[in-house]
Amino acid sequence: MRSILAVDDSASMRQMVSFTLRSSGYEVIEAIDGQDALDKIGDRQVDLVLTDQNMPRMDGLTLIRQLREQDRFKRTPILVLTTESSDEMKQAGRAAGATGWMVKPFDPARLLEVIGKVLPH
């Protein structure tokens, strides 16, 4: 089963994302912020990381940088969730090592569509 790390400080967003992904056969690890994500993931590997940007304690970009520093996450697709697709955000996401971005709001279909592009069956 493909595993996805979903990081968002909003419980409703987390539930929606997890429910969607689990219903489509993914294993989901939920985390409430960057620090929680690092704690939860421990020394395991995931197939994809989906992270919100603005979170307390550790934001999404810091999380991405910290993940990219580890060899096992060098090639893992990481998508940043953002509320605006401004150039500024894109540059920041790219510089941190993100694979791509996805604009909020999105619906379950869009989420699966985008994930399908980076995690082909």
Binding site: R2, S3, D9, S10, S12, R14, Q15, M16, T20, S23, S24, E27, V28, I29, E30, K40, G42, D43, R44, Q45, V46, D47, L48, D52, P56, R68, R72, K74, R75, T76, P77, I78, T83, E84, S85, S86, D87, E88, K90, Q91, R94, G97, A98, T99, G100, M102, V103, K104, P105, D107, P108, A109, R110, L111, E113, V114, G116, V118, L119, P120
Partner: protein, 718 residues
């Protein structure tokens, strides 16, 4: 917008299943935002607070947009725009901004309540959205970062003076191609031009479609501006639907000086491989799909297959990891939401269980402990477990006083502003827990007391200084457990009560007062209906109506209220409440063949009565002397018309009870014992009976009435 395809079939979820979580979360965010805003120091707003406030709005917006609450999303969007500029220090925080943001929080609360199915009038946020947009845009157009905070004092927008070079793009100016439509009425888009003439510094706009839409009913413009996409969208949305606006960077073919400006700002600009309005991938992003996977640091075959290989390998290693010790990936749910009815049902059942247990215990006492030893042990266990179960179940309904206290900082802020006073709120013991039902019912009386303290208690700053006090007054809210009760105090360091003035007012109103009354009794006069001590009526606390209602509400909860004051130094109102309405510590007393329950909290002492102590005063009224104080004597058998066997006389035991600052001696036949009783509402099951506040079922199955002590004291003393 890109087409939705792929696994959309399996993604056809009902998003409403997440609404409950969203509402709960949004409520928390709103409360959090309000307390952060209230605590914000305008002169030196710290980044952490500003970020946290931004995150609250941001989080609500994200959820609202996802779950389809457009009005909430729209309002939080403009709030977010303003807050973003504040946290980036592009704007300085002003009182006006805080007020507007607080107001927006209130409106959001209403909007959310309406979506949640609650009642309430529909709200038109257009004006508010415009106002927030004005706060954000107006000052933003003024030279950011360099403007001194003082210059931000007047946030009125279109009037904000801005200097923009008359022609030619300046550094930071972007060239944008804007498409709007398809529109039923394409000419509406011409109004956008008005925005650029009305708002100085916004930039310029020109139609690139010759002023009319083609067959696709889409209007096209070219805009030169320093404003962000989000700001433009906000402004455009006054005239056209936000969803119809497409903003594309037009600098590529612009051929103006603006293009280099953009490029120099972002030298590392990465052309997205796949970009739609809603998602995209970086061409050098690890794991990105697409033809050109050119990851620089790690040597990976530069073919598209790389992107699929890597995750596949990752997936394998994930499986290996799982075989070891994989942490549980499911969300650790630390709380659950349960309808209150379910909890109440549980409490009712436990109440019945307590009664059954009491009956069994009573029966068990008649058994020979030697023969029925196992039974006695079992009954003892049952009693202990029942008590623990009861406590645990009651604890479910217990919520911290903070729920009530948290509403007061905002209220006092608004109030102080209205009254021209400086009032600081101090809270103590907000962790103190109280039954949810009680919390709900005590909120209004407490609100009234706090409002009174600020309005009538705290003096105007100049008066306070004249009296040698600090200009700002303090209202203190303190909650603490005391035995089986919770005591909530509302204190202020204001002018306090004037005994003579109170007595004079009471006399004017024909109330029975005399000089020998204790201070407590004099202060309690303000609870009399229609009694007001304020010289002038204000629109904040009104005309003194209310204190009697406050008292009545508290008394109806089985609580009491007392006042203490030192003139010139302040006043303290203490509200004593039972921990819960469902269980009470009671003393059961026998009167002939009846049993009554006296709330233990109001029992002062019990004394054996001798005939010499009783004195008759005028008619049938009797008093009894207890420790040099004459107390009214109330015989319960006479009061409730309890039938007596001929020749049977009372044994002359009296219980001194205290309520509302007064004491009364109750004459009873015997003291049966102290125990917890499960309170049953008499009104709901029968009807209201004067002198009786409820009923309970005794261990032997009989019903005992619970005495309304306040009523008894009032009746005996007036």
């Amino acid at each position: 917008m890109s087409e939705t395809h792929g696994q959309s079939g399996s993604a056809d979820f009902d998003l409403s299943q997440f609404h409950g979580v969203f509402f709960e979360e949004a409520g928390e965010n709103l409360a959090n935002m309000e307390s952060l805003l209230l605590a914000l120091d305008e002169t030196s707003a710290d980044d952490e607070s500003l970020n946290a406030i931004f995150r609250c709005a941001h989080s609500i917006k994200g959820g609202a947009a996802t779950f389809g609450f457009q009005d909430v999303a729209d309002l939080t969007h403009v709030m977010e725009t303003l807050l973003d500029k504040l946290r980036r220090h592009e704007l300085a925080v002003t009182t006006g901004m805080i007020d507007t943001l607080l107001e927006s929080g209130d409106v959001l609360g209403h909007l959310l309540a309406r979506h949640q199915g609650g009642a309430g009038e529909p709200i038109d946020c257009t004006e508010l959205v415009g106002r927030i947009g004005a706060l954000a845009h107006g000052s933003a157009a003024a030279a950011p970062l360099t403007a001194p905070p003082a210059a931000q004092a007047a946030p009125a927008v279109p009037a904000a003076p801005v200097t923009v070079p008359a022609c030619g793009p300046i550094a930071g100016t972007r060239v944008l191609d804007i498409a709007i439509g398809p529109m039923d009425e394409p000419s509406l888009a011409d109004h956008l031009a008005d925005l650029f003439t009305e708002i100085p510094g916004l930039g310029t706009i020109e139609a690139t479609d010759g002023g009319r839409a083609g067959p696709d009913r889409i209007r096209r413009f070219r805009v030169l501006t320093q404003a962000s996409d989000a700001d433009l969208l906000d402004l455009f949305s006054f005239h056209v639907a936000r969803e119809q606006v497409r903003i594309v960077d037009g600098s590529a073919d612009a051929g103006t000086a603006a293009a280099p400006a953009v490029a120099s700002q972002a030298p590392a600009a990465a052309a997205p491989v796949s970009d739609s309005a809603s998602y995209g991938f970086f061409d050098d992003g690890p794991g990105a799909p697409g033809p050109a996977d050119q990851a620089p640091p790690v040597a990976v075959p530069a073919v598209s297959a790389a992107s699929t290989k890597a995750p596949a390998a990752a997936s394998r290693s994930a499986k290996n990891a799982e075989r070891g010790s994989s942490p549980a990936s499911n969300l650790e749910q630390s709380t659950i939401r349960v309808p209150i009815e379910k909890v109440d049902q549980l409490i009712n059942l436990v109440g019945e269980l307590v009664i059954t247990q009491a009956m069994l215990a009573q029966t068990g006492r008649n058994l020979d402990p030697v023969i029925h030893q196992a039974m006695a042990t079992g009954l003892a266990d049952l009693e202990r477990n029942t008590r623990m179960l009861q406590e645990s179940v009651m604890a479910i309904r217990m919520i911290p006083m903070a729920v009530v206290f948290n509403r007061f900082p905002r209220m006092l802020r608004d109030l102080a502003g209205k009254l021209g006073k400086q009032v600081e709120l101090q809270t103590i013991g907000e962790d103190t827990e109280l039954d949810k039902g009680l919390i709900e019912k005590i909120t209004d009386p407490l609100t009234h007391l706090v409002r009174n303290a600020a309005d009538h208690g705290i003096e105007m700053p100049q008066d306070r200084i004249a009296r040698g006090k600090p200009a700002g007054g303090t209202v203190t809210l303190a909650a603490a457990h005391q035995g089986g009760s919770v005591v909530i105090e509302v204190r202020d360091d204001g002018r306090g009560l004037n005994r003579d003035k109170l007595l004079r007012k009471a006399a004017e109103r024909g109330l029975p007062v005399h000089e020998a009354m204790t201070d407590q009794e004099v202060y309690a006069l303000i609870f009399e209906p229609g009694f007001s001590t304020a010289n002038e009526v204000t629109d904040v606390s009104g005309r003194g109506v209310g204190m009697d209602v406050v008292k009545r509400n508290i008394t109806s909860l089985g609580g009491s209220v007392e006042i203490d004051s030192t003139e010139g130094q302040g006043m303290r109102v203490s509200v004593r409440l039972p921990l819960t309405l469902a269980i009470m510590d009671g003393m059961s007393v026998g009167v002939a063949r009846e049993t009554y329950i006296v709330p233990l909290a109001s029992v002062v002492e019990s004394i054996h009565l001798s005939a010499d102590d009783v004195k008759s005063v005028g008619g049938s009224a009797r008093v009894v002397e207890v420790r040099n104080e004459y107390l009214p004597l109330v015989a319960l058998d006479e009061l409730f018309d309890v039938p007596r066997e001929p020749g049977q006389a009372g044994s002359g035991i009296m219980i001194v009870i205290e309520a509302e600052g007064g004491r009364v001696a109750l004459l009873v036949d015997e003291l049966i014992g102290q125990h917890q009783v499960v309170v049953k509402n008499l009104e709901a099951n029968y009807r209201k009976v004067p002198g009786v506040s409820g009923a309970t079922i005794l261990g032997d199955g009989r019903v005992a009435l619970i005495l309304d002590v306040s009523w008894l004291v009032r009746r005996a003393r007036h």
